[in-house]
Symmetry: C2
């Protein structure tokens, strides 16, 4: 879309001769900062619709220069998906995800999932749009399914323990929970004031719904 770099300087700013089309001054890129640029472009247009030319233009360098830093388009996708999945699975390793009642653990995970979605927004956004066209994408989809399966079994446990309203089908509830939480990426803007209250609000909404108790 734009020719200006979309990312702040990754290292110490250093004057450069080259200029982007918008005249922006650029600094030394590394693989990590270019990944951030790439993921933003992938999310803006979709992975398949984004060319390496698009990425290099967004970084303010030529396609060849871009290839000097990264090995290819799919490697960028792999690194981004790995980062998103590491963030999500890290939640399951937390003590609060493993101790206490099933409902309590579920609520903790949901709240933390909202936080991770917020802090790792571009990477998780990319993950949630993967279609399974390549081995990398299928690997990411399989890991996502494993994460969702963990949540589903937790919901089932909460139902068995009678901590959940009667008539809730575990399978359906788990899918709607995941869907609700994941849908945040469609409108979430981390910088927005009050966003630190979002996890608690989401947990309360999925727990109590919107209708006042009779």
């Amino acid at each position: 879309m734009t020719a200006a770099p979309a990312e702040p300087p990754p290292q110490s700013p250093r004057a450069r001769r080259g200029r982007g089309a918008a005249g922006a001054r650029r600094v030394a890129y590394d693989a990590r900062s270019l990944l951030a640029v790439a993921v933003q472009e992938f999310n803006a247009r979709g992975y398949d619709a984004t060319s390496m030319e698009d990425l290099s233009r967004a970084a303010g360098i030529t396609k060849s220069s871009f290839y000097h830093h990264v090995s290819g388009k799919e490697e960028l996708l792999r690194a981004a998906l790995e980062r998103a999945l590491d963030g999500l699975f890290g939640i399951l390793d937390e003590p609060a995800s493993q101790r206490g009642s099933a409902l309590g653990r579920l609520q903790h995970i949901i709240g933390r999932q909202v936080e991770v979605l917020t802090t790792e927004l571009p990477y998780v956004t990319l993950l949630l749009r993967v279609r399974g066209n390549t081995d990398i994408e299928r690997w990411a989809l399989a890991r996502r399914r494993a994460f969702d399966a963990t949540l589903a079994s937790l919901v089932a446990e909460a139902v068995e323990d009678g901590e959940v309203r009667a008539g809730v089908e575990p399978w359906l509830a788990a899918r709607l929970l995941s869907g609700t939480v994941n849908s945040i990426i469609e409108w979430c803007r981390p910088g927005r004031p009050g966003s630190e209250r979002l996890p608690a609000q989401v947990v309360r909404m999925v727990s109590e719904g919107i209708v006042p108790p009779a």
Copy 2:
């Protein structure tokens, strides 16, 4: 993916000389049946990742023959998005969407939205994945936003009327509601037994949540 036609005969079956790679017998295609084939392929791999060669192979004919029936890739997308949006906006014209309490109207629309998502699944799925890369896609996104805005104002009205639990922020609730309903496309399979109960289950889940009243 497969060379066999993905759609039942659109008109009276008639023996043909040509065979697909799988040896399947084909019948007369028209623009509507080819649209169904195309949308299925678009959803399987993503619109941008699906080539006209992929589409024609899925229909069991060559690319040139495919072009004899449809004017181009983007025209297929336009027709599909139009069908999805017509289904959604049709809900708002129903009497039950315009009469009664704000909460009642909201619950009716949500239930009907689940139904439309189910009956028009492939078309709505495509709609919900549009990124805004072309004029057609931006038009579809704008119409989607208009639909969501209608729901949001209805939530706000329900909050003003005191029909909704205290502490619910209209803006957030509306987005989570839409996200929950739309997430159904990720796992919904219309033929599955018990799917006719889905609309009511979703309405109850977003209304009452999963935790039993204290």
